[in-house]
């Protein structure tokens, strides 16, 4: 299994509070991704990173920001959490951007009350 650790695994918080999710990899892969999974939607890309300090938006990036200061860590921040951001969040990594599978962590279940 790819060495990907997501923390925390579960979090309950209140609307309006900031939340940061962490993804840590030990594979030294260049590319890292954040997805959210919601019923009826599969997984949807939030942001991705193609190197340290290099990030770009995905399909559902509104309300989210990311940072990558080291190869191994990719942080997802909800500046002011809303109930619509209740979801399961998955981090993924890949060696290259295309024609290579992405490998996923075990997810963070986030509930915003």
């Amino acid at each position: 299994d790819a060495g990907i650790t997501q923390s925390p695994r579960h979090k309950v918080t209140e609307t309006g509070t900031p939340v940061t999710l962490r993804c840590h990899q030990t594979e030294n892969h260049r590319y890292m991704y954040w997805y959210r999974q919601d019923p009826g939607h599969g997984l949807r890309l939030i942001h991705y990173s193609y190197g340290v300090k290099d990030t770009d938006k995905g399909e559902v990036s509104d309300g989210y920001s990311v940072s990558r200061s080291k190869t191994e860590d990719f942080l997802l921040t909800l500046e002011s959490a809303t109930s619509s951001q209740t979801s399961v969040y998955f981090c993924a990594i890949s060696e290259s951007l295309h024609n290579q599978p992405q490998h996923f962590g075990d997810g963070t279940r986030l509930s915003i009350l």
Partner: protein, 114 residues
């Protein structure tokens, strides 16, 4: 607008028989397709992929078929085993500006019965 669709939310199959999962897509620029398997409380696990230059790829019990003219791919699992009970997602990506941006279907829940 969902560009990758899995129209069967669930599938029940007997142990030892073939499971066939289907996936349709609308974006003709997709050129790389993947299948993932997901157990509860775990992340998706990569199963098999196929490039658009091929129409079939096989890995053990898993075979993926791609029909580009119909914009359709399928995953065959034979023989099905109890451990195959999981949610299966198909995903696709396109070259160029969309590199790395996987589009996922909504998933198909497979239940393998004894």
């Amino acid at each position: 607008d969902q560009q990758v669709k899995q129209n069967s939310p669930s599938l029940s199959v007997q142990e030892g028989r073939i499971s066939i999962l289907n996936c349709d897509y609308t974006n003709s620029m997709f050129d790389y397709f993947l299948w993932y398997k997901k157990y509860p409380a775990e992340g998706p696990t990569f199963l098999i992929s196929i490039s658009s230059i091929k129409d079939k790829n096989e890995d053990g019990r898993f075979t993926v078929f791609l029909n580009k003219s119909a914009k359709h791919l399928s995953l065959h699992i034979v023989p099905s085993q109890p451990g195959d009970s999981a949610v299966y997602f198909c995903a696709a990506s396109a070259s160029g500006d969309s590199w790395g941006k996987l589009q996922f279907g909504a998933g198909t829940q497979v239940v393998v019965t004894p």
